[in-house]
Each structure stands twice: as structure tokens, then as C-alpha cells.
Point group: C2
Chain length 393, copies 2
């Protein structure tokens, strides 16, 4: 092979989710989309708020709207986001610590490239989004995985303390969590931050906390999602509007550097450099301007909550063991045999497309993305029941 | 510094163009935008065709329009682009060799990451777009610069033959050229391809030709821009709609792999892997769908041609030595002293913002981006004349 083998392997393998996504389209063409129960992709089923298309239609009439913005993003857009963070979370961030990105994946890839030296470690908490490994490795780093607590799937803080080494540069925390739907409690978060502070002092250099927050707005009930900048100075927030505004294909989000960090402005420059290095010129301009008008807007999440309640109740009644999700739009379910891949194969025979979670760092579990039409869940329930019955036979 | 020093350096230094861009905004706030003659940035002054906003307004009403597409891009969009390439250039490309990207910078960063191994060389032709160095280095490679022919600024094919080594993986050709405006002639292109074939045979592995083509549609008069896929099998085209449709802020373009390449499908997979690795999930969805409706649309380039004619005639009459640009929207002008940076400083005293081309690999020249309102050129002409007079005194 005359080109890069690692890139070929990444492209040839694909993420397990993308692989199912492609299978699903093929299968839908064969038997009709209504007969394929695809729960694989986190593609929001709730349309963006109506105000979004009104704003797009107004913006597109404006002269120069499609021009380049500054590499770090339009200053007015960044000012509105800084205002929002100040008002909502009480963190005195300034626009010059906000860097607009092409969504959460770009936010993470850029932040990791800005932080890591070759060979440094990044710690993640299982279950974790599979692409973390890809972005950490692209930045020259290695991934260290912490085990979750049983049943609750909260972080095992004692395990974290053992996994941190003088070579650890960063920790990624994703809450509400993909794929478990778990929201890490304030106690858990404070426990993590205490350990990070203690180990940073012990090692003589900061360990950065990367808050991967695309699901922040998708929380059901009175559950609080602690804002990490208020808990830990060396925090970098990677945010995306993909889920909060149902715009996943438009690739729009931001990186925010905690103003309490002693060298926040310098890290921000490293983020600018990393964005440049990875080929990002600016985040899509039209959608940057759209965000400025909608920093306080969120999709109606009642649809997701009702989906969650329906699925959780039904699957539990069929005998599935589910982790109760307080946020995101994923249900984390124990497979009915130890091998989640084999279980997903058997589910596929019922046209149920589920994601085995081995690549997320937890064996024996599957992810069900319930960001789908209610009718898909209703049509799929007999298949879930039949699958459970099959295992009981 | 606890984070990555190279990324900090890239962010702290900024590209010279971005630096002037930021200065320009600051200066405009001080003395009024109409008094700053900013010719620094390739931000198209011609608005997109009216049909573009009509299409956006129609698309934004469609359900699911903002959803994820396949990582490589929506299949319908890729089919339309393949049709366009087949019809226009006679190359029998298929949609599965087209990969949608966030613009030309992303196309290049991804292609280089897919091709290069650590320490391999990429050859560029001076003058060359400064960010090539950044993308090559991000891919672990090193940059080799070929000198241009004097006066014409065509490629010195003999110099290329000398610069290719067994360690050369790729060559980037940018025509119409940024910053010179030169279109490489068919003779030049065939000379390059002959040398590449000869050296590939000699070294026993292919040298890839990367065609960086954001300016393909911006050509004035009866000048032909050879289509490299027809000349050389190991060609990868990096295209962008930033200039052809005046959508630079929207970040939309594609990579196309030449179907004549023996392992085209495998290289395509490496490109998919590289995109994933750099944090690209999919190209912006709304603008992908927009492109499908407008693959044959181009902005009205008569404005640029008239700007070129006006500037070229006026500056030549003031005594400036200009390279005649047949394409793009840049005028490449010999500085009136040997140090182009010093010249640009003196131009700045006349509120003329020009780009010194040292970073483009040619000393003693400046770039004038004439993708601006006619009135800016008209207001600036006395300043250009005064600057020339100053050097005559």
C-alpha cells in the first residue's frame, strides 16, 4: 500500500454505528423503511424549532452572509454565546475564550490536538463514545479506560485515581452520557475534580478536564447536570448544537476555555493552531449567525422523554435489564447473552438494528437510540418481545 | 507550557493573511471601512447567484434536511457531482469516488493525511498557498518547494525533476494559482505529468498529483485549465465551491479520486479514514443538498474580470511590474523594494493592505486580492500612485 495504512484501516473498518447506518439504508431499500427498526444512529427525530427555518430564511437574504468569518468565529456570535454561559452558569467567560467549530467531533479533535504531546495519555470513562479513541490517536496520544460502577454506571472515582499517571494530559467526561444516558451526579463530578486536583499537584502539572456536552439540554425531570467550569479551573467545554437544536448535519458547535485557568489565553491560541492544522478555516457561517439568534433556544424534548418512558417500561416488562437514562436519547440495555455482537445479530433477524457496545468499552450491553418517530418504537415492540421470548425458549 | 507547543505556535503566529484580516477590521473601526483599502483576503465580493438563496429557502422547509448524511456525503449529491465531472471533463468517475468536505482546506488536510507517512515529502510549486505547509506537517510530512520560471511564473519542470526523490509521496498543483493568478498551460501540465510518470517508474511507487482547484471556474478569456485526471491516473482533485458560488464561509467542497488509479477504491477508504481522524463527521448538510441543485451554476465572473483589467492597467501605468493573471482573483505584483514586508509596511501607511508573498515561497512580491467592490479599487488607485511616487523620489 503506497498511502497511509492507519487511515485506510480507519476508513475500511468504519465505526460500528456508521456500518449499521449504511446497512440500514440498504435494508430499507429492500423491505421498506417502515419495516426496518433502526435504533442505531443519534440522528434527532425532533425537527428544529420553527423559528430556526424562519431565521435561516431571513439570514440568507443578507448581503455577505456566506463570507468567511474570523477563524475563531464571528465576534458577535461568540459574544452571544459568552453572554449565554455567563447568564446560565454564572461563569464570567469572555468571547475571546470561545472558538466556533464544525460540531462536537471537531471540538474534540481540535482540543485533543491542542493539548496532547506524542505518547501522552487521555483518560475516558466507560462506556464512552467510540470516536474518542480515533481523536486521541490522531493527536498522538493513547487512551486509558476507567471502569464504571456496576448497575448505576456512574464513574468509579477510586479506579480513576489508580489510572492517572504523570503522563496523563487530559480526561474526557461526557454527561449526559452516550451511550448510557446516565447523568453524572454532583457527587461523582466533585469526586472526579478532587482526584484531578490532587494528582495535578502530585505530578506538578495540570490534568485537563474536557467536558463533552452535546447532550446538556436533553435531560428529563429534575436532574441537574453540573457545569464543570464551576468545579474545575482546567476545564475545556466541547459543545455542539447538533442535538439541542436538531442540526446534526450542519456541524456547528464551539470550544470554551474556562476563564479560571491560569493560561487560558495561551491554550486558546493552541486551539486556534490545532483548528488550522486540521483544515478548519471557520465554522459554517450561516449557522454561526443562526446560533447568535438562538443561544437560548432548545428543541422540544418532551417527545424524547415520552419515547424513553415507553421503551423503558415496555422493555423492562419483557424482561430486559435497562439502565435508567436521565438524559441524552439512548437506552443502555444488557444483552440477553454475554456476547453483545451475537445478540445484535439475532436482533437483526427481527429487523432490530441495535448497537453492540464493546467498542464503547463495556461488554454485554447494547445501545438503543430512541431519537426516532414514536411509530417506529410502537412497531418495534413486538420484535423486542419476540427476541426476548426467543432467549427464554 | 503544558499543552502542545507546535499548535500554540501555529495559533499565536497566525497566517499572514489572517493577521492582516484582523488588523483591517480594527483599522476600519478607527477610520471607517471606506478609508481602508483592504486587498488581503480572498473573500469573494460577488454575491452568490440569486438562485442560491431561493434554493436555501426551499430546502430549509424540507423535513430532515439538517440530519446527518453519510460520512462521505449524501449519495444523491455525490451522484450529481459525478454526472457533472463526466459531462464536463469526460472522466467516467462514479459517486463512490467522491467525498464531500468542509471546503478546500479540509479537502487538502484530509488528502494529505490519507496519503503521507511520517517523514515523506510533498512537493509544491512556488508561489504556493501558505497553508500547504501546515497541512503537510500535520500529516507528518515535509514540504519541498520548486522554483517558478521567471516572469511567467509557470512551473520549472526541470527543477521539479531534480526535487523528486524516492521519498516523495505527492505533488500539489494549484491552477489557477493563488497567489499569482497564473493558469498553468497544457504544455506545463503535460511536462509535469511526464516527469511524475518517469520518476514513479524509477522509484517503483506512484507519486500522487493533488489538484487544488478552488479557482477552476474563475478564468478570464479563452484560457483552458487542463483537467488533471485526464492527464495523470494518480490524481486526486480537491475542489471547493467557496469561489465558484461565493460561499467561502459555508465550507463546502469535495475530494475526487481519479477512476484510472489502480487502487482508487482503497485510497478512497483511506480518505474516509483521514476525514474521520481529523474530526469531520460530514460536510454541512444543507449546503450539500444545495450543491446537488447547482453543480452547473457559477457566479458571474465579469465583475472580477473588469477589476483585473482596471487594476492591471492602472498599476502598470504607475510603473508597477505585474504578472498577468488569467484566473483566480489575485494580482501578483513585484514590490518596489527587495523586501516585500517592508514594502507592505509602507503601503500600509497609505491604508493599502497587501499581502507580502515571502510565506508563499517567493520573495519580493505582493498579492493583491481584487475580489472587492469596484469602488474600493477606484478609491485606492491614488494611494497606489502615491506609493509608487514615494519610491521614485
Amino acid at each position: 500500500m503506497s498511502y497511509n495504512e492507519e487511515m485506510y484501516a480507519l476508513g475500511a473498518k468504519r465505526s460500528v454505528i456508521r456500518e449499521i447506518f449504511e446497512y440500514s439504508k440498504k435494508r430499507a431499500a429492500e423491505i421498506g423503511a417502515q419495516n426496518v427498526f433502526d435504533f442505531s444512529l443519534g440522528n434527532p427525530s425532533v425537527e428544529p424549532p420553527a423559528a430556526i427555518s424562519d431565521t435561516v430564511m431571513a439570514l440568507v437574504q443578507k448581503e455577505g452572509i456566506h463570507g468567511y468569518t474570523s477563524a475563531q468565529g464571528d465576534p458577535t456570535v461568540r459574544a452571544r454565546i459568552a453572554d449565554h454561559i455567563r447568564a446560565r452558569h454564572g461563569v464570567p467567560i469572555t468571547p475571546d475564550l470561545i472558538y466556533m467549530t464544525c460540531g462536537a467531533a471537531a471540538s474534540l479533535a481540535i482540543t485533543l490536538r491542542a493539548l496532547l504531546h506524542k505518547g501522552e495519555e487521555c483518560v475516558v470513562f466507560a462506556p464512552f463514545f467510540t470516536e474518542y479513541r480515533v481523536f486521541v490517536e490522531n493527536a498522538g496520544g493513547t487512551l486509558t479506560v476507567c471502569a464504571p460502577l456496576e448497575k448505576t454506571f456512574q464513574v468509579d472515582v477510586a479506579d480513576l485515581a489508580k489510572k492517572l499517571t504523570p503522563n496523563t494530559k487530559a480526561v474526557i467526561l461526557n454527561s449526559p452520557n452516550n451511550p448510557s444516558g446516565v447523568v453524572y451526579s454532583t457527587d461523582t463530578v466533585r469526586g472526579i475534580c478532587d482526584v484531578l486536583r490532587q494528582k495535578s499537584a502530585e505530578f506538578g502539572h495540570p490534568i485537563y478536564l474536557i467536558a463533552d456536552e452535546p447532550y446538556r439540554e436533553l435531560v428529563y425531570g429534575e436532574v441537574e447536570v453540573p457545569y464543570l467550569m464551576k468545579e474545575y479551573a482546567h476545564t475545556v467545554v466541547c459543545y455542539s448544537y447538533s442535538k439541542s437544536l436538531s442540526l446534526p448535519g450542519e456541524r456547528i458547535g464551539y470550544i470554551a476555555v474556562c476563564p479560571d485557568m491560569p493560561d487560558a489565553n495561551d491554550l486558546y491560541l493552541a486551539i486556534c493552531g490545532a483548528g488550522r492544522s486540521l483544515g478548519y478555516v471557520c465554522a459554517p457561517a450561516l449557522f454561526q449567525h443562526l446560533i447568535a439568534a438562538h443561544v437560548d433556544t432548545t428543541v422540544d424534548i418532551s417527545h424524547y422523554r415520552e419515547n424513553r418512558d415507553l421503551l423503558l417500561q415496555a422493555l423492562t416488562s419483557y424482561g430486559y435489564e435497562c439502565v435508567r437514562p436521565d438524559g441524552a436519547f439512548y437506552l443502555f440495555v444488557k444483552a440477553l447473552e454475554s456476547d453483545a455482537n451475537a445478540f445484535c445479530e439475532r436482533a437483526r433477524a427481527h429487523e432490530l438494528l441495535l448497537v453492540p457496545c464493546d467498542d464503547f468499552g463495556v461488554t454485554g450491553y447494547v445501545r438503543i437510540a430512541y431519537c426516532v418517530d414514536r411509530s417506529r418504537i410502537e412497531r418495534a415492540l413486538p420484535a423486542f418481545r419476540a427476541l426476548a421470548d426467543e432467549y427464554r425458549r
